[in-house]
Amino acid sequence: MALAHGSVTHARTAGLALLGLLPVAFLVVFFAWPVVAILGRGFSSGGVDTVLADAQTWQLAVFTLVSAAASTVVAVVAGLPVAYVLARVKLPGVGLVRTLVLVPFVLPTVVVGLAFRALWPDGGVLPLVLANAFFNVAVVARTVAGLWGHLDPRATEAARALGASPWRAFRTVTLPALVPALASAAAVVFLFCATSFGVVLILGGGRYRTLETEIYLRTVDLLDLSGAAALSLIQFAAVLAALAVGALARRRRDNAAKLKQTTPRRPRGSEWWPVGAAAVVVVLLMTPIVELFVESLSTPDGWSLAGYRALNTTGQNGALQISGWLAAKNSLAAATDATLLAMTVGVVASVVLVALRRSPGRLARGMGETMDAALMLPLGVSAVTVGFGYLVTLDALPGDLRTSPLLVPFAQALVIIPLVVRMILPVLRAVDLRLRQAAATLGASPGRVWREIDLPLAARSLVAAAGFGFVVALGEFGATSFLARPDAPTLPVAVATLISRPGELNNQMAYAACALLMVVTVVGVLLIDRFGSVRGHTSVGEF
């Protein structure tokens, strides 16, 4: 009879494994296989050990890690007051801030790089660190706000009653409680910064190089695949370390105390200090953005809408193959496809991960942890490595996907999936097991329980993840520029093309296209946030 019981468990595990095949297959085909293939070419041509033995390689690695760490610290410090405002403060404009902080995320790196160059004409380490942080403040602000809004304020009140100053209460009570979200966000920001490319190229001015730019250089310009493979190995190790730190923090989150929704209110007294700090951060974030708008409107002969009018055209001397508006449409279509794809794979992956973690078998739990880590890897591997990997592998698939426009949403989805999983997973994991059991005893099959209980409870996080994924897809440049066809560029690709052409009008049109991208982003995020706030009750999210 024990056997019979065992067979039910086995059948369930088998079903899970089958469902888990979808994300695993996606990752294998569109990530692992291409990356392994291109690295394999590097290893087989030898010379990896000489690169690893080269002191310059390690200087490169150290600079990459230190500058990424510095950017992460800046992003965290700048993101905290904004998170406070998003979670706790009720003032007019907070909703707008929630949307606006996401805008930097979609800006093409080349544009941001040039904007920072306007302030620091010679580039250097400081603007490089700041620019990378600029992109990622939103990650910290939104992630931490998710947890902060659920922290029980009575702990802080108790500390204050015991005589702690507001700052001390924050430091000793609130901050430790925020550590899981902070560390988790920091891990993701660190990954983004350590693999940042365009900004480093422009602001590093060739003097400051990172593993990512060097991998790009060796792969694309020098075809030194063994050197690139060696550097990829180091990058891989660094990524794994960052992931491990993030995972430890998430484990702590699992043990976190019961959360409680708090309602934001108008700040009082010393609470205005963080609000002021947040305002400063938001103003700083908006500065390059305003500068872009100014650029899009100014010509040597005064203000002009010529750049915007040019969006109807293909640019001066046909710099683009299609008009700016069509590029915007392409962006929307590709981002929508990528988001749908990433949500499908991401939700299935999260469901499987949660189910594996809950399952009694140690093997299943181990599988879950492995899959969890594997899902994050695409964030830590160069777009160029994946792109060149596609070239040497995907012709084996029916239809030769290597040059298919379908590859764009697939590649974008690869970048979004880890973010989607990081946002959905903790919420699904937090669903009380007994709620699910209650549903089961009322006659809901396991699949029905997911649909009736888990997914509705995670609705807000699902919407938030979709929104964030959409924004990331809109702004994705590395992989997209590699794969997008000239007759179907996305807006960021069009911006980069326009800016790489001489001519006044192309330059203006590039900035106008940037402005268009920002508007598209803001409208998209507003719509999604509105939809999200209408339904669902839970909104703890992290990355």
């Binding site: 422009i202 730019t213 310009d221 010509t299």
Partner: protein, 352 residues
């Protein structure tokens, strides 16, 4: 039971329909249409041609041209090398003389002598087997902002040596030879001029004279150069001989000028890919690229000079962007042999 299943099916169908609708809108013109054979032209990011000329080719030849941009000349070459066993297209255009040896050495192209080749392209031949046909010629030259020198009462520089002259201290911006193709061309120009032994000395002087190295042409030209829209601080930039043609003032006269004694010639080639499946059609595309029809468009669209003789240039080019008469050049195999070594030496010399 039935309504539940029906609802599930409906939901799935909706999602699928939505997804496919989006994919279709994003896909644009994928796939073959009718019986017209589609030939894929793999080219560099700078490729641009008027749609009506491409359409005319399709009408005349019955070949539908699919254009696949694949990075700059170096990236394009490397992608072709990586995929040579099963190429991503049938014909390639954009491999230049700095990368031609690599492509030829790897056997990326197959021999083909276009009947159009003796109308001029032959002059730039790199390969006795005629695997590559020259399509266009571009020169990387130092550009200057003439207005700056007029208003500062400085004589305009004219030569490589002038750039190292303290008179022009902190006025020059160039691109990295490691990350930008004009940067590499400029380095090759100095190697051609000063020789394998002499170039490091020249660059040391440039460095001492405050040359600024940017990683890309975009930052150098649009942000640091004073003659472009960016109105940067430096009046001397490494760009193209044709760039002044895009910087015409309201009076129709160029605001900038290329120094014709500082030019390095880049020749861009087209060829039939060895592993391609539609060889005869691919050959027709090479013929088209060398034809009068296409050659007449390259100057206005890609800021390069046609390889074919007797093709008229856009008005204004005669004054704004004349073709340099004595550009420096290096044999393709010498470039192939020296490139990595030179770039490495240049990087350690310049700390870039």
């Amino acid at each position: 039971m039935i309504p539940r299943t029906a609802r599930t099916v409906l939901a799935l169908a909706t999602v699928t329909a939505l997804a496919s609708a989006c994919s279709l809108s994003g896909g644009g013109s994928g796939g073959d249409t009718g019986q017209t054979p589609t030939v894929t032209l793999v080219t560099h990011d700078s490729f641009a041609a008027p749609q009506d000329v491409l359409d005319a080719f399709q009408r005349q030849s019955g070949i539908k041209l699919k254009i696949l941009k694949s990075g700059d000349a170096g990236e394009l070459t490397n992608k072709l090398v990586l995929t040579k066993a099963n190429p991503i297209g049938d014909v390639a255009y954009g491999v230049d003389n700095t990368f031609a040896s690599r492509a030829l050495g790897e056997g990326v192209f197959r021999p083909f002598t276009s009947p159009e080749a003796d109308r001029g392209p032959q002059r730039y031949s790199v390969d006795p087997q005629h695997r590559l046909s020259a399509v266009d010629v571009g020169d990387v030259c130092v550009n200057i902002d003439t207005g700056y020198f007029a208003s500062h009462h400085l004589p305009e520089p004219t030569s490589y040596e002038d750039l190292a002259d303290p008179k022009y201290k902190d006025l020059t911006v160039a691109e990295s030879a490691a990350t930008a193709s004009p940067g590499l061309a400029f380095l090759l120009g100095t190697i051609a001029k000063f020789g394998e032994q002499g170039w490091p000395g020249y660059w040391s002087k440039l460095k001492a004279n405050g040359v600024k190295i940017d990683s890309g042409w975009e930052e150098a030209y649009s942000k640091d150069f004073s003659g472009s829209s960016g109105k940067g601080p430096r009046p001397i930039v490494v760009s193209y001989a044709s760039s002044p043609a895009a910087e015409l003032g309201p009076d129709g006269k160029p605001r900038t000028k290329a120094l014709l004694d500082t030019c390095f010639r880049q020749i861009e080639y087209a060829g039939v890919l060895a592993g391609g499946k539609q060889v005869p059609q691919a050959e027709k595309v090479v013929d088209f690229l060398l034809s009068q029809q296409f050659q007449a468009t390259v100057a206005a669209n890609m800021y390069v000079y046609p390889a074919r003789e007797g093709v008229s240039l856009p008005s204004g080019w005669a004054t704004a962007a004349p073709l340099p008469q004595n550009p420096a050049t290096l044999p393709a195999d010498q470039i192939q042999a020296g490139r990595e070594k030179w770039i490495g030496a240049w990087r350690s010399l310049m700390g870039a």
